[in-house]
Amino acid sequence: MAVIFERTKGLLDVPTHYCPGCTHGVIHRLVAESLEELGVLDRATGVAPVGCSVLAYDYFSCDMHEAAHGRAPAVATGIKRAIPDSIVFTYQGDGDLAAIGTAEIVHAAARGERITTIFVNNCIYGMTGGQMAPTTLPGQVTETSPYGRDVNTAGHPIRVAEMISTLDGAVYVERVSVDSVPNILKAKKAIKKAFEIQMQGLGFTLIEVLSTCPTNWGLAPVEALKWLRENMIPYYPLGVKKDATTGEVK
């Protein structure tokens, strides 16, 4: 019998601390598999954020940094500049990347930093117990938008992939989702492609991954997938936002 699916060597064989059904775990796998398949685990360094995935450094089998909240792109820049042939990625949540780390992600992209950012958008601050994120949907109830996000006072959600696409240094930007198996397959393809572009030294790549937070959304894991599908995807349309390797900008 042939093995059709088994655990990637890109992840250490340890249990994770994620809540049941949290899709952080799926995204970890996609990143790790990509690195393994591209044969670069040996020269890869990942940067974990501050957020639920803070302990990612305990899960990925390649070298890892734990960065200050929001600063992963700057840390990754330091790593890449110090060791230019390394393959460097940041793994960041929406609080980390789209709130406190806005300047760092914009400038890493503008500089065309040869790194890959995996941006996990779950519309909430998971780690700290469910506060509003810059990506929280209008009307969404969170700890700090208890009456639903009021765009009048709390502002409008940021579409990160679209914003980053306006920057010349960003060469590949795609938004994917892990709400279903077909979408997971597409997400994998996008992540792998981003790393390939990094290996070619073409510039900055970012994959925004729509992800669930069953715990702070107050939904069962399967319900959370549905909520993502029905609420997030309409606001955050999937697809390639920019592909400078082909000249495509959407």
Binding site: D42, V54, H65, A67, G78, S86
Partner: protein, 357 residues
Amino acid sequence: MAEKILMKGNEAIGEAAIHAGCQCFFGYPITPQTEVAAYMARKMPKIGRVFLQAESEVAAINMVYGAAGSGVRVLTSSSSPGISLKAEGISYIAGAELPCVIINIVRGGPGLGGIQPAQSDYLQATKGCGHGDYKMVVFAPASVQEMVDLVQEGFDVADMYRTPVMVMGDGMLGQMMEPVEFKERQGRQLPSKDWATTGLRGKREKHNVINSLFLKPEELEEHNRKLQAKYREIENNEVKYEMYNCEGEVDIVIAAYGITSRICKNAVKMLEKEGIKVGLIRPITLWPFPSKAFEEMCGKTKHGFISVELSEGQMIEDVALAVNGRAPIHFYGRSGGMVPTPAEIANKIKAIVGGAK
């Protein structure tokens, strides 16, 4: 012996770092230290090294974190407000035990303050720049030559103890030109950076992790105790200071560092002529503070000590902790970019010791 050339303090910092093998520079412009970055921008690309102007001081210090974690020598430079912005990052660097050199060419504060020379970041540098129980080594050069020497030494100390090292000057030291030479240095025997995230490269089984998070209190406490032990070791081994005119009995001892110490030396000479004998202790490391030098002088000074600062009374706390009640401590400070003349200092001292003997 290398040739002596005239160099601006800020440019000498850059050249010293290059000599020390600094591989990456990350910084953000701010007066009065912009020449450090400008110098690195000219030189580093030419020798295949990295100059990168970051989008902010916050980004710069986190780039330092990344590069230091990757095992290369790395420098960043800023001035007071920019150092405040680096506070979180410095705490992370100390927590993750990464070696790097940080320059602070101090200007007047608080807030936007001014751009003229000051020493008002003493407490920040030695006590409270960032949260948590950590220390960084703080060097305070008093000349451009010493700036060069201490930047180079700074990289060694950083690597030796896996700790951030700050070299703290002021607008005057940064902007002035003085003769410098870049001597061949006898480097220290340094530990290998087997903890660095170079990629596994088939050489390691276990991945390396650069990190300052310890969720379990027992583990965080253990980590803190390890840091504290390292700090005690640094306190034992790395104190640097100069004692000037401290032989025998003196009327009073000045405590002054950096540019101020030079002015004080001139005051010492002036007072000498008037028959007043003044010693001078010049801390070269602000942390670890040369407490022993002060203890030593406690019994030998008639009128105690005077801390002379370009600040409103900051180093005086460390002087007081060292003297520990054994002698009176006086203070003379200017701030906001005002720099005292030797005569001013001499007058203050005469007022204390009661004129010539």
